[in-house]
Symmetry: D2
Subunit: 309 residues, 4 copies
Amino acid sequence: MLGTELDNSLLEDILTQVRPLIGRGKVAGYIPALADVSPYNLGIAVCTTSGETFSAGDADSRFSIQSISKVLSLTLALTRYQESEIWQRVGKEPSGQPFNSLVQLELEQGKPRNPFINPGALVVCDLLQTRLTAPRQRMLEVVRQLAGMPDINYDRDVARSEFEHSDRNAAIAYLMKSFGNFDNDVITVLQTYFHYCALRMSCAELARTFVYLANKGQPLGSDDALLEPRQARQINALMVTSGMYDGAGEFAYRVGMPGKSGVGGGIIAIVPGEMCIAVWSPELDAAGNSLAGTAALEKLAQRIGRSIF
Amino acid sequence: MLGTELDNSLLEDILTQVRPLIGRGKVAGYIPALADVSPYNLGIAVCTTSGETFSAGDADSRFSIQSISKVLSLTLALTRYQESEIWQRVGKEPSGQPFNSLVQLELEQGKPRNPFINPGALVVCDLLQTRLTAPRQRMLEVVRQLAGMPDINYDRDVARSEFEHSDRNAAIAYLMKSFGNFDNDVITVLQTYFHYCALRMSCAELARTFVYLANKGQPLGSDDALLEPRQARQINALMVTSGMYDGAGEFAYRVGMPGKSGVGGGIIAIVPGEMCIAVWSPELDAAGNSLAGTAALEKLAQRIGRSIF
Amino acid sequence: MLGTELDNSLLEDILTQVRPLIGRGKVAGYIPALADVSPYNLGIAVCTTSGETFSAGDADSRFSIQSISKVLSLTLALTRYQESEIWQRVGKEPSGQPFNSLVQLELEQGKPRNPFINPGALVVCDLLQTRLTAPRQRMLEVVRQLAGMPDINYDRDVARSEFEHSDRNAAIAYLMKSFGNFDNDVITVLQTYFHYCALRMSCAELARTFVYLANKGQPLGSDDALLEPRQARQINALMVTSGMYDGAGEFAYRVGMPGKSGVGGGIIAIVPGEMCIAVWSPELDAAGNSLAGTAALEKLAQRIGRSIF
Amino acid sequence: MLGTELDNSLLEDILTQVRPLIGRGKVAGYIPALADVSPYNLGIAVCTTSGETFSAGDADSRFSIQSISKVLSLTLALTRYQESEIWQRVGKEPSGQPFNSLVQLELEQGKPRNPFINPGALVVCDLLQTRLTAPRQRMLEVVRQLAGMPDINYDRDVARSEFEHSDRNAAIAYLMKSFGNFDNDVITVLQTYFHYCALRMSCAELARTFVYLANKGQPLGSDDALLEPRQARQINALMVTSGMYDGAGEFAYRVGMPGKSGVGGGIIAIVPGEMCIAVWSPELDAAGNSLAGTAALEKLAQRIGRSIF
């Protein structure tokens, strides 16, 4: 599939095209720390498997990565558990439901549908809590090394604010516990979970961090593989079917790449074998995915002629 | 991604490996015409975008393609309707529910989640009924031309038997009608729908028929594109998220290709830009997908080193 | 429980009190024949077990009794079937759902929760269709005799109009048929069902007709019991738990009598051992029960000091 | 309605008749303290509004009253709140769902269907926590006075054991909190709730305690009304539609009295104006109500010719 050459001016051009969409979405408002972010932020960054980087707009501004962290926690779990240990506790199927619904969780006896909705990510955090002595510190180490930025950190205001609005997630965790699918103290795991969500990273840092998914599990600037090639492919597969809340089908249809979004307005997308792209625009569409961010990825896919399909 | 060269002996080898799985699944038993098929049938065929073909086992035996026909009816609809006319009546998201559930259909006011579950395919047939004067005949013409086999036909016993067990699908159609999302006579559309499901085709014919999805919408042996490149990609995207009933996530995870299955035990899978693969083994897994067929596709993907991820 | 003596002027007084509520509800609008009824109709009638009658307002105007007929069809079924034959096909529990929902019906494999929601009444009509040669004619005979009015009839415009908007009920019937809980032709049974709903009766006629439920199964002016005393009590019990759609709890709480409502704005209520009361006011509350009618029954219960509780 | 005269030998006779049912139900097994109770316990007691008492079998053995306490907590709430303050936070409709389901609670935005399922009772306890300085102590005082037995107490083993298995109820409470329908600390309210459930009382004590519901809100041996007559009727109404979990319809149909059951195997039933009856048999039917206890009430209702219908 041929297309325009990828460079900074192409990215600039795309941002110019999608900027008029700002105003048509809605910034996540369930906690003040997110609601206060300016909707005019707009950034994009690309990191290729060979380490080339491109960017435009607010690509170096850090924001709350929120559910994008669910990919990191699953990755971390895959380094500490046999795969079967993970998949007996969380499924691999799309949910067909809002991201924080308890309905399916009750009907399916406490087993979340996939690791990228809240219940699934909570189970993954519960797994990490069991095998890591300091799961928050360990995550920071991993992310700092992947991004090559030793000052990446948690936004403690966001983490605290999330925790103060944690009743729904507490309900989810207790429901799973009632079915025997949650081992550790609920409050402790929620604290870990909210810290992961509260990681502050820029598009440039995200693109570099997640390029291992485009590179058969191999991070940039490291001799050690983070995941096996098969595992990287599997995470990409899960992102296609379940990475965009209840908008995965639409995203695959329009963008044609594995992706994972967060309610902070960030999205990462993978072109297997080639690159990771990260975008940021805080306003969300009805499914909870960055509205202008999705449009930017769609345009980029068209312009450079990339789609996994 | 490098891998073994694709040839007939590789396909033979794969069938030998998966044959022991026969006995672990269950042949679809809701109509006698399907229940009577021997579980020992096992076939695989590949057709590349350049027209090369490979096959092994019962690749030339015809069987009931069932829901694989849903891809054909969507394709046909895309040739007769503006895209927006289709997508305002059927969604693009995975359902997270069994293929014939009415629950989500009621909660979401008669709009099916995607065109590959029964309610969605019925809406697509309703669309075809509106714009085609002879929708059954037209489908035969399309399929015969795509497959290059003028004797492909409907299995009238299967169609009749399906119709005699059509209460659930009638309920689905009437429910959509009650929400204003069904225009034609229910019985007429059900008859069309069941005929499409009752198409009898072999793996070799299926692989050749659907290679347009690997070839940017361009069928073999024709100068006319059936779909635009973008539309072919979009169908592949929908197959990844919704093509395997409530087993799409698992299939993407294990096989890594867009695919569509039928309860007759057939599956088609696409390697974009390269080939279409068709397998047949009548026994199904718990999600309703061919058990040995899925395993054969998984092994083939590994051996030839192909995955969209 | 003592209270004011029951007479016509008490009933007049109550109508005066509730008339200001007209304008706060909504006349059923799903078919024109119902939507066109004037909201200012307001009537009440009482018939005691000894045959005394009282009335006020539009007590002699006939209207579409709609779901009140579900009590008649159940009564008729009890005269033609062993009880166990009925209760193996329809339950006795409140549904906790809107009256025409398919969700619970699918989850509970085609067995309706009770005979007073649409699915349950359709099963009862299916039972009648099996054992009566002319179920519409037979119902007319029964009602005419109970009411002592040989000119009671079906409103054929309403029946036709209902049938033209019957998709939802057809979906319900086909869904039950798919579970093996529906024996006769769907269209035929729907025709019977809609005719029963389209019975035109006045409050005075309804009160006299249903007094057998207050009188141990014994109708007025007949030597033959229609039901056994136990069966009359059981129907009253079912009306308390399931007679008012998803408003049964509120009705029991406020009125304290077994009751059955119809979307035509009629309600019948039973004071066991004493009387049947019928009210009519076309505007409905959010649960689909006559708004002013419920208020009139509440006031009457207070004034005459009657409640089963 | 005439019937046999009520005396101890009639009650003995009824217990003899229902004793063979022991073995057909299942003792609640979710906590050891309940699972260890002998299934052979069988008792019945009646207390009339004039203070006459009758009993048979193990009528003086205390057991865990469990959900029967939900009637007491609602009664207590009615003495401390305006009715509208209660009913804006909990509904009055049957749930059509298992007693501890979260499905409807999520769909209906955190408002429980009625005060006699777990979510509703938790909201009532939350209300009590807000207005009572020592809700556990206050409940003991109320119950001791109503029963005339100063040594009634909580079974601390049961309360502790319930709390150790409280994940499901914690999930329910947190879900309501996420919708803004829960004010106090979840753990604190759960402790109160489990203590109420862990009250140990005998049939004789229960019959005397709850006779106020048969007596227009007036307890025995007190000059002060506990509730207004209207409120007593309303609680009876709620018990008929929602007092027996998902078996309220069947209980009304068979027994014909307002009733409330607990998983400890106790049931209280009310004959308005006449008496309260309490039965105990630990084995439960599929809906979670005492199997032999329900049968005993059904037989008693027949023998003495009492039914509210």
